[in-house]
Symmetry: C2
Subunit: 168 residues, 2 copies
Amino acid sequence: MATAPRPARLASPSRADDGGERRRYFAALTLDRPDVALCRATTAVARAIDEQLSGGPLTVPQHLVLKMLAAVGSCSQQELSEQLRIDRSVMVGCVDALEGAGLVRRERHPRDRRAYAVTLTPDGSAALAAADRAMAPVLDHAFAALTPDERATLVRLTRKLLDVPPAD
Amino acid sequence: MATAPRPARLASPSRADDGGERRRYFAALTLDRPDVALCRATTAVARAIDEQLSGGPLTVPQHLVLKMLAAVGSCSQQELSEQLRIDRSVMVGCVDALEGAGLVRRERHPRDRRAYAVTLTPDGSAALAAADRAMAPVLDHAFAALTPDERATLVRLTRKLLDVPPAD
DNA sequence: CAGAAATCATCTACCGTCAAACAATCTCCG
DNA sequence: CGGAGATTGTTTGACGGTAGATGATTTCTG
């Protein structure tokens, strides 16, 4: 092995061939597979948000529960699950944690003793206000690659995919 | 539990139509939380695709592996993992299944015996062609809510989020 | 050349989600 | 009234994905 050009790495042996194409195949993939592009983008956004929120007092689902309770009043876990698109069995632990932190109360629904009436406490309102305040810059960071118009377009398209009628 | 203290009443104790706001809270949520809209849309799309592909010979990740091998030639599992954004440990099982079905071969890379050279077999090429043919209508169904222009826009925005340069 | 550090594939432990089963309760209908 | 079926919250088990450690091999550094 005196004069043979030492291939520095497996992927780019000689720099002249398809190494570039191979290392950038993901870009080509996203053109063929919108579902994969969407999925990977969602993962990237969620990861960015979770990183910034790690160590904070609320997880994303917990924040969403407080937010909905503030918007529509006391709710059963079933209603929270349906509207937030969180599975019922996951909602159990979510409300458990919020109740343990004193941010919501679980009261029995007066007319349907199967269901709870999950209610926001004053502490919960305060925690929600703080979480809402902290959320804007986190979202701005996660969507920093998009202009405000593009971000609005993305929301419009995802709403169409979810069969949500356009905003009034 | 004879005389429990009377809990606060629900937000909509008697009015039947007050549920309108409560039953449609998800629409309001998507306006505040683009990350949630994106996440739920991705789940909906993935679920629609998985449903149509269930029973088929290839899963989505397996299809992606064959597709990349056909596009760039033999690859190490590491390269497949990086470009397809699939974790290395998951790629193991993915290639295992493809090898078991005879669609790829695992050969040791001649210059780096740590790595495999995963190679498409003739059967793999045939399976890929069939899967590619079956994919178009599945994607059309999953993205049926969007016009072709909107679908292209969605791809463009997700590519920006993933920091992929615009297509040539 | 020898040892340190990095890399590739793999394995294992862990976490979060989903489907199914369950008890308690409500609604419907004869 | 009373039983069948649906609904609410919960638990359980299976599944998929991720992080960290491991063994084999390569590359780097002195």
